[in-house]
Symmetry: C2
DNA sequence: ACCATTTACTTAATCGGTTAAGTAAATAAA
DNA sequence: TTTATTTACTTAACCGATTAAGTAAATGGT
């Protein structure tokens, strides 16, 4: 049995919440008539401590539910055993799947993964990354916002902490980047629409500064070019953050006489708008308009009609990014930029591009 | 201009990443011939420091990109300015919306919100909560896993740190709980199916131990009872984690002669399976089977057919939960259990329950 | 029996901040 | 002029853990 009489004297500053106060090594030491050093070593199974003492320490620690304070150790060791994952949002299948991949690897490596959301705000990204220069985390995995168009905050953080970018990478930063074959996919999506009989193909552009966006559009233009079509600049439709404006924009495009008969959505959330606008205007998918979307949504198969998608290896990209980061955290002198990887996405043909209807 | 000559002598232990090493108050103090105390006070705009000195400190701090180490302050102040958000997953519209609500409030209060995912693993929940007893965070907002059926880990954490539950609450813990009117919604959904002409209504049950689940089912049973129907136990279909098994289960149910002609999905992810099974078996929604789902998905309107939903005030529930937690963190003696709130959900009728087709 | 080594600890410094208490010089009050 | 107060700092303790260095006692070798 553990005698707690002495310990009660130690509990101070009790708020309504910490009825018991946090147990510290100091308390264990006092209770056991040992130095804090001995207790610390016992907990870490040091050879300097006798088996009997170790047993006493472990038993008391368990009885009192001792949990080491992570910040104390981190401060001393200059190592937080924590990584940060900085992503635009989580209400997106791609990011939530990638996150699962990252988390799985982080847990397997005994690390904490702190998730930070920028909500596509460049200001928030800057504030966040500045904070991460503090030593709060040992490494960072991130996808930049749609609006990230200067890179000093990234460069600055990259000097302090190993970083790995995934999907929405920043080309200007010299470090590891996990991407998918965006240009090729833009090409494939467009070629698939052409093959399905589309004459006028539009593409929704999410952000000028985003490398994945421009690559997808490059692929789109390349496909048009190879098929002897003008790269009509009017067919690149800017898609912003204001959902009302976006809807209005789409409505306008599809109301025109020479409206597109095929459209590529570069991110999944554009799909709902496309479907709704087509419904409203009485345009049938795929008969009047064919749709391909970059998407990882699980609902694509039960949409009306089911949606042809370019699906990214989201989970795998997360796993890879995390794997490389932990490799860097273990081996001190890893050249991260040499670890960049491109993982291919896959085209899934469904009814939204069917030409046989 | 800042003279950095002295400072270079301080940089030690440079890894490939920390080319510059982290700037500390000690370095600033040395460079300015001040004590660390003076620098600390200057940075916190103390009246004890002259305006001239404050200016010198602030300028050097800015020039060297000084970022205070959060763990050092937290340790001393016994306050981390950080809360934890523990949720089952993020690939779910309800949780991601709630998360946005929580985050918005956290940022407004100058706090960090650390997101932890349990992936519905009870073991992970226990490990996580144990870690959170360390002092890592000042408060916790959480939704328990589907499998959480013992509560010692929750009770234990609740002694150390203020907790607020939302949606998937634990009734046994005496603290604030933000819920929606689950029983009423189960009732409404069922009544709506009855009103739409359904004779045999099934409900998908996600977990026996989850209070929201049992409440929804109670509402369902109540509605059946009030309409003079037997509460057929066979109509409560257990939905587990194995997606292949779930699909098989559903297929079996809908193949039977007296198959249901109405079904309530208690969580949104069940919807895809229902739609796919109906497609496969040639059952038309809503003519042969009517579907209501608890869902916050943005795609419900473009499904085939569009889905009738019970939609929870997810963002608002997150905001409320966070608001109460911060109220508790500010006022020391707030009785959290008195802050529990129930926010109503809303029924949106769409085509999956249409009776006029 | 005597020195060497091993065992099982303790002491004290450290991580990077914050702050109570102390102090010397300048200014104000009597 | 002398004492009181204010100003602008510094010193030192502290948060909770880790660990290099120190030490007393037990054990071992010859």
């Amino acid at each position: 049995m553990v005698n707690l009489t002495k310990l009660t004297k130690l509990s101070i500053n009790q708020s309504i919440f910490s009825k018991m106060g946090n147990i510290t090594i100091k308390m264990l030491a006092k209770e056991l008539n040992l130095s804090t050093a001995a207790v610390s070593k016992a907990l870490r199974d040091s050879h300097e401590i006798s088996e009997g003492t170790k047993k006493r320490v472990l038993e008391l620690a368990a009885a009192l539910n001792y949990v080491p304070h992570p910040y104390a150790g981190s401060l001393r060791e200059k190592k937080s055993n924590t990584i940060a994952v900085v992503i635009p949002e989580v209400a997106d299948s791609f990011f939530s799947l990638a996150l699962n991949g990252i988390e799985a690897v982080a847990i397997a490596n005994g690390y904490h993964a702190l998730i930070y959301l920028t909500h596509e705000s460049f200001e928030r990204e800057k504030t966040l990354l500045k904070d991460l220069e503090s030593g709060r985390v040992d490494g960072v995995i991130m996808s930049v916002t749609m609006k990230t168009d200067t890179f000093d905050h990234l460069k600055s953080l990259n000097k302090m902490v190993p970083m790995v970018f995934f999907d929405r990478v920043c080309e200007e930063i010299d470090t590891a980047k996990i991407t998918t074959n965006d240009e090729e996919c833009g090409y494939q999506a467009t070629q698939h629409l052409i093959d399905s009989g589309c004459k006028k193909i539009a593409i929704l552009s999410i952000s000028e500064s985003l490398s994945i966006n421009s690559k997808r559009i490059q692929g789109y233009q390349q496909a048009l070019l190879e098929n002897g079509r003008e790269g009509d600049p009017a067919s690149i439709i800017d898609y912003g953050e204001d959902s009302v404006e976006n809807f209005e924009q789409l409505r306008k495009v599809f109301r025109e006489v020479d409206r597109p008969d095929g459209i590529v959505a570069t991110v999944s959330k554009m799909t709902t708008d496309i479907y709704l606008v087509c419904m409203e205007l009485g345009l049938r998918i795929p008969q009047d308009v064919k749709v391909v979307s970059f998407s990882n949504d699980s609902t694509v198969a039960i949409l009306n009609p089911s949606l042809t998608t370019i699906t990214q290896p989201a989970f795998e990209m997360g796993e890879l990014a995390a794997g490389i980061l932990f490799k860097a955290l273990k081996k001190k002198y890893l050249v991260l930029s040499e670890e960049s990887t491109v993982v291919p996405s896959q085209l899934f043909v469904r009814n939204s591009t069917s030409s046989s209807v």
